[in-house]
């Protein structure tokens, strides 16, 4: 009996060891690209690529040049200004857009989800189906129409922050799915009790549902906040060539275009540095709020 018990324990320990090995391997694979990104941002040698992993010269200058809008000229090897490249400007714009989008989108998603989850009205089902399929339409097919619509309203170029925010939040009610799923898991008896006590539907929403929805609110905030950082196509269309109206994604993409890689021998390293700077706040935010994100995504996506 004792022997059997021990062998069972040994099996357990063995399987745990295997799992540890697998998890370690996975973690390494998962981290390599990010380690590479950081290493490249600290590389001192010129040129876009190397055929070795670790830099030969370590330097922090790529970050400094990134913030000073400078680059190393490929022809002379001197530090020169990169002209209209203003990384902090792009960063600020993107941050502003991101924050506005987060606030508006979260509000829209929450109210839409609440209406679809709790209120019963005639067009509820058709509306849900409609929103479901509208998302299947290829987004870039609508760029032309949106661009000229924004132009009609004067929201391109110098007003492009407003234009972009409108475009990003415009259809956000279609992302109701997970949030509605979360609301569905909140027992209806809570609402009913409050309704009997004379609360209006608005009060139910603000006083009962919202306080219980911290995970899904944080989940929505996180996803809404992250999206504008990577949006490239519309941001580049609406800026119409003027780099001062770019966002981070457009700017970063331009840093690894041929013109930049040709003119500056440190363009790729600065791209990596910029990518680190962009990813840092999102990553930190994510790690801090991870628990809620998990709760939100679990609560929401499993009870559609």
């Amino acid at each position: 009996m004792a022997k059997k018990f021990r062998s069972k324990k040994a099996v357990e320990r063995g399987s745990n060891a295997v799992i540890y090995v697998i998890l370690t391997v996975i973690s390494v694979i998962w981290l390599i690209p990010f380690v590479f990104l950081i290493l490249q941002s600290l590389r001192g040698e010129p040129g876009a690529t190397t055929n070795y992993f670790f830099p030969k010269q370590w330097t922090f200058d790529n970050y400094i040049r990134l913030f000073k809008n400078q680059g190393i000229s490929a022809s002379t090897g001197e530090v020169v200004s990169t002209g209209s490249y203003k990384f902090m400007n792009w960063y600020g714009r993107t941050l502003l857009i991101s924050v506005c989008v987060t606030v508006i989108q979260t509000a829209i998603v929450l109210v839409t989800s609440y209406a679809l989850s709790r209120l019963r009205f005639k067009l509820r089902k058709p509306l849900m189906n409609l929103m479901l399929i509208l998302g299947m339409f290829p987004g870039f097919m609508s760029m032309t129409a949106m661009y000229f619509l924004l132009q009609l309203l004067g929201l391109t170029q110098d007003m492009s922050i407003v234009g972009l925010i409108l475009v990003y939040v415009g259809s956000s009610c279609m992302g109701y799915y997970i949030c509605k799923g979360f609301f569905d898991t909140i027992p209806k008896s809570l609402d009913e009790a409050a309704r009997i006590d004379g609360a209006s539907r608005q009060m139910v929403f603000f006083k009962i549902i919202l306080p219980l929805s911290k995970p899904i609110i944080i989940y929505t905030v996180l996803t809404a906040f992250m999206a504008p950082w990577g949006e490239y196509m519309f941001a580049s269309l609406i800026a119409n060539g003027d780099p001062s109206y770019w966002n981070v994604a457009v700017g970063l993409r331009d840093m690894i275009q041929r013109e930049q890689l040709t003119a500056y021998s440190d363009s790729f390293q600065r791209f990596c540095a910029a990518a680190v700077v962009v990813s840092l706040p999102i990553t930190i935010l994510f790690f801090l709020l991870q628990r809620y994100y998990v709760e939100g995504v679990t609560g929401g996506s499993v009870k559609g």
Binding site: G47, S81, G83, G154, N240, T262
Partner: protein, 418 residues
């Protein structure tokens, strides 16, 4: 609800305000100029010089980023809000014209730039009876860079020499053979003649001379209008690599030679120092024992003026200024852009720049003007390049020939009549 109404009111007010601002016209001529992102610093200085040269008018000039190769895709989004003056590569001419984004040059101006600039560069902006661009650069092509430590000057004169030298030293010979821009040019040097007429919708006549090869025959140089060279280069020793692969090779110390344009000149020169070599494309010997030239495409870059510009005459003035002798000189100093202006091209400093020198020589000796083509011309040649990769030395030459013929048919086909 109250909140909603007040919000809606605020929104309406804001909208009115925006429209009001938009409706206000500017008094001073406002112009927008687009140039590649790496030339922005230089462009700003040129624009300042332009303002200084025209003190009687206060210009409001905005700078924008658009590389010469992207000018059509940027302009076509909304030609009416596009730049007033912008740089474009001459192969975009037809498309830019068809969306009305180009305004012709004054006849007197054409006469004067014909006198100052390389004739081919001026002609590259011609469509019908009109000229649509102010040429400023004649360096869009490719030639040979080599590491003198690996490839001797004599070896650099023939393809066989370069291949052998690189193979012996186990060094890289980098060439992007799957890219149609490079691969298509082979046929021109092999006695194959090309005749391309492009009317904006399709290639109306495309003629390729091919020697007939008996079925089952083996490949041999000189028999397939030069396409076999592309294939041999792909198969024997080259890295089918792009710009970043050249960086990689330089950083790793394995750079032997490469076929590329002027834009990589600086970094190769900086990396190789005294071993830096640049010259025209090497010749190649066919099985017919004849030496053939390896041709490059010759492309030019020009400044165009948007026909929708609100201040077209000022825009023409600016475009002429940006492509003037002094500005081409400055552009060479700042960005190493090979000039189309004859005076600048003849300067010693230009000749001393090996890469630009090699390019100029290449364009003069063995090049073919890169005329505007529909995108199909390039995409089919890309497919051809990929298909060729799958061949091996035992494939029959007739197969390759079939492929060439298929490519020509596909290039000539048209989009459905609308």
């Amino acid at each position: 609800m109250k909140k909603f109404i007040s919000l809606a009111l605020c929104g309406a007010l804001a909208a009115v305000g925006v429209l009001g601002i938009a409706a206000c016209g500017e008094e001073d001529p406002g112009l927008t100029v687009w140039a590649p992102s790496a030339q922005q610093e230089s462009l700003a200085a040129m624009v300042a010089a332009f303002k200084e040269a025209n003190p009687e008018i206060t210009y409001e000039i905005k700078l924008g980023v658009c590389s010469e190769g992207d000018s059509f895709s940027m302009m076509s989004n909304d030609p009416q809000s596009g730049a007033d003056v912008y740089a474009f590569a001459n192969d975009q001419l037809v498309n830019l014209y068809s969306i009305g984004a180009l305004s012709p040059l004054a006849p007197s101006v054409v006469t004067s730039i014909k006198a100052t600039d390389d004739e081919a560069s001026v002609e590259s902006g011609k469509l019908g009876n009109n000229y649509y661009g102010y040429p400023y650069s004649a360096d869009n092509g490719f030639f040979l860079y080599y590491n003198k430590d690996v490839v001797s000057d004599t070896q650099a004169q023939t393809v066989e020499g370069v291949i052998k030298a690189c193979n012996d030293a186990k060094m890289d010979f980098i060439f992007e053979g799957t890219n149609s821009w490079y691969s298509l040019s082979f046929a021109y040097g092999a006695g194959g003649t090309y005749e391309v007429k492009y009317d904006g919708t399709q290639i109306s006549s495309l003629k390729v001379d091919l020697d007939k090869v008996p079925d089952g025959g083996k490949y041999s140089y000189g028999q397939l209008g030069g396409y076999e060279l592309a294939w041999v280069l792909q198969q024997s020793c080259t890295k089918i690599g792009v710009d970043t692969d050249i960086d990689n090779s330089l950083n790793g110390g394995t750079f032997g030679a490469c076929i590329r344009g002027t834009w990589v000149g600086d970094k190769i020169k900086n990396a190789l120092g005294d071993d830096f070599g640049a010259t025209v494309l090497p010749k190649w010997t066919g099985l017919d024992n004849e030496q053939h030239e390896w041709y490059s495409f010759a492309g030019y870059k020009l400044f165009g003026v948007n026909a929708y510009s609100k201040h077209p005459e000022d825009a023409h003035k600016l475009a002429a200024f940006l492509s003037s002798e002094a500005m081409q000189d400055k552009r060479f100093d700042d960005n190493g852009i090979g000039p189309s202006n004859k005076v600048v091209a003849a300067k010693q400093k230009v000749k001393d720049n090996l890469a630009v020198g090699a390019m100029t020589q290449q364009i003069m000796t063995a090049s073919i003007l890169q005329t505007p083509m529909p995108s199909k011309y390039w995409s089919e040649a890309d497919a051809f390049g990929q298909a060729m990769l799958k061949f091996d030395l035992n494939s029959s030459a007739a197969e390759l020939q079939d492929l060439v013929e298929q490519m020509v048919t596909a290039m000539k086909s048209v989009a459905p009549a609308q």
